[in-house]
């Protein structure tokens, strides 16, 4: 095993166990760590000290780009590139450009939301060191895991191990990098 492992992994038996352990890891000031649970636990994001998702920012930018794309598309094609009088209407009006702009706003917002979510989650990710843990299958079934990365500035093999054990973690083990 290399000198520096990827991190430490601990197992917990119940939801309250992992919830309170997460609070202790949060209060100890760790930033680069995660919980692995078989199902979503309400309030765990707060116990972990996570803020609001940043996905909406991607959505908003996508929406703005979609709207301007729609408006510019109709303006460029109708008023610049190939001006034609249709139905006695002006070459360009935001009125008839609106349905297109509106649809593209929705489409681009959806793309940006999905893309932003994948990007922020670091997906697709084909391999992660936790997959080598003996406990990982249980963590997708009936156990709750906490993983603390070694790249966390506060990480210290002995101290972090002690913290996880004090928080009630079982089978605290090093993850192969």
């Amino acid at each position: 095993m290399p000198a520096q492992p990827h991190g430490l992994i601990a197992t917990f038996d119940t939801v309250p166990d992992v919830y309170h352990a997460a609070e202790q890891v949060r209060d100890a000031g760790y930033k680069s760590w995660d919980c692995i649970t078989p199902f979503p636990i309400h309030g765990l994001d707060k116990a972990m000290g996570l803020g609001r998702s940043k996905v909406p920012r991607f959505s908003f930018v996508g929406g703005v780009i979609g709207f301007t794309t729609g408006m510019s598309l109709i303006w460029w094609t109708g008023a610049v590139d190939y001006p034609l009088v249709v139905g006695g209407k002006p070459y360009f009006s935001p009125m008839f450009a609106f349905p297109v702009a509106y649809e593209l706003t929705i489409l681009f917002t959806a793309f940006a939301t999905i893309g932003g979510m994948l990007f922020l989650n670091g997906l697709p990710m084909h391999y992660h060191p936790v997959l080598k843990s003996d406990q990982i299958m249980r963590g997708l079934d009936d156990k709750f895991l906490i993983v603390i990365d070694a790249r966390d500035p506060k990480f210290n093999l002995t101290a972090t191990k002690a913290l996880l054990e004090k928080a009630g973690g079982k089978d605290v083990s090093e993850l192969e990098a």
């Binding site: 139905g87 009125m95 008839f96 349905p99």
Partner: protein, 430 residues
């Protein structure tokens, strides 16, 4: 199913009216009486025709909120919603206003039947259109002749009476089932209300559409729009949700909702207001856009007179009201409510709610008042003395509605304590 949690929360509820509610109800009724009194005084200042329009705005505003509440209660039941269980009871209390709104409608309809030229000009086929910048009489107007099968006083009165009876009946059914469940906890009331909602939604959608076509759209009977009922629906729901926010925060600040209301309730109702803001914009824009695009005089006149004078083509005040609706009823709430933290704020949400209800009123004024034209066919201005009676009418009818709500408030538990979804609602989370 039965909720120990709910029982503890509501265990301290007093059996009698919570302190101050009775006094508040009296105050509301007094304010209502003053508003109605001032509106009557307006008859001697601006005359019956104008005060009738003001009264119509006041009625469509408050009836709209009640219809919105009726829809929300029924939508709650039909989709078996959980989070809105704690606020549903307040909407049920709001439904108590229907019978009073029906009563307050009577003088308007009676006046319109007594003087058939007063409000809806097509009540009298002999109406001389020269008085509103046209030619000939209503009876000679092909656009009325073709619509006369619907647009006649008999149908008008029939539709209005039937609509109110249906709303009052549905409200009574929904309220009785919900209130009775507080005592016996019988699940049959929940399925009973779901059945009521199933046919009630269809009935309310039809009667609401028919009513708003008669009450407001037919003021300018030339107009065609298939969006009209949906436009009113959007406004009603927005106003009712806003009233819901105001009531939720009011009850929270009073202390009644402490331990009941959590951030996620506010977040959820905020999301609904946001969704209906977009829905309103979609409907209102679609109506405008289709008419603008098709460019048919029978339709475009409606927007033209809300932008420029018929006689000289000079922009009138309604143009600015229209622009205010675009920016004030869509962009401002849209850009405010899009923020997560705003939706959680007990300071901002009631402010936004009051504002949306206010702009719903402006939207109604925009739909009602420009139909009142002078002999040149120009709409009367937005800002004028007669708008005072719109304010007094809204206050007067509003006082009665708030009184009806407050009078109903102590007659049932604060929240439906034995509703099968009450636990889910009390622990509502994102």
């Amino acid at each position: 199913m039965s909720s120990t949690h709910a029982a503890t929360v509501t265990g301290s509820l007093p059996a009698t009216a919570p302190a101050g509610i009775a006094a508040l109800a009296t105050k509301a009724l007094t304010i209502g009486a003053i508003g109605i009194g001032l509106t009557i005084a307006g008859l001697f200042v601006s005359g019956g025709a104008k005060v009738a329009y003001s009264w119509l705005v006041g009625l469509t505003f408050w009836t709209g909120i009640a219809i919105g509440m009726l829809f929300l209660v029924m939508i709650h039941h039909i989709v078996d919603a959980s989070w809105s269980t704690v606020i549903r009871r307040q909407f049920e209390h709001g439904l108590a206003a229907f019978k009073w709104l029906g009563l307050l409608f009577i003088p308007l309809v009676a006046a319109a039947l007594y003087d058939k030229q007063l409000v809806w000009k097509w009540f009298d086929p002999a109406f001389d259109l020269a008085k509103v910048g046209g030619t000939g009489t209503v009876g000679e107007d092909i656009l009325w002749v073709k619509k006369a099968g619907l647009l006649n006083p008999t149908f008008f009165v029939g539709a209005t009476v039937v609509s109110f009876l249906i709303w009052i009946w549905l409200s009574a059914r929904l309220r009785k089932a919900s209130f009775t469940q507080d005592f016996d906890g019988d699940l049959k009331w929940t399925s009973h209300n779901r059945t009521t909602a199933a046919f009630g939604l269809a009935l309310t959608a039809l009667t609401m559409t028919l009513s708003i076509i008669f009450w407001v759209k037919s003021l300018d009977y030339h107009f065609f729009s298939t969006m009209y009922g949906v436009w009113y629906f959007a406004g009603c729901i927005r106003a009712a949700l806003s009233a819901g926010v105001i009531i939720m925060v009011w009850l929270y600040l009073r202390g009644d909702y402490k331990g009941i209301l959590n951030n996620n309730h506010l977040h959820s109702i905020g999301q609904l207001i946001f969704a209906f803001t977009v829905f309103w914009a979609y409907i209102t824009f679609s109506q405008y856009f289709l008419i603008w695009n098709a460019n048919i005089p029978e339709e475009t006149f409606w927007y033209s007179l809300r932008e420029i004078n018929n006689s000289d083509g000079v922009p009138n005040q309604w143009k600015w009201v229209g622009l205010f609706l675009l920016f004030g009823h869509f962009f401002l709430p849209f850009l405010t409510l899009i923020h997560y933290r705003v939706k959680l704020s007990k300071t901002w949400m009631p402010r936004i709610a009051f504002y949306i209800a206010f702009v719903f009123l402006i939207d109604l004024i925009y739909n009602v008042w420009p139909s009142k034209k002078n002999e040149l066919g120009d709409p009367l201005p937005f800002l004028a003395v007669h708008q005072l009676w719109t304010i007094t009418a809204v206050i007067g009818i509003g006082g009665v509605c708030v009184w009806a709500y407050l009078k109903s408030f102590p007659t049932a538990k604060l929240i439906p304590i034995r509703d099968p979804r009450i636990n889910e609602s009390l622990t509502h989370h994102e």
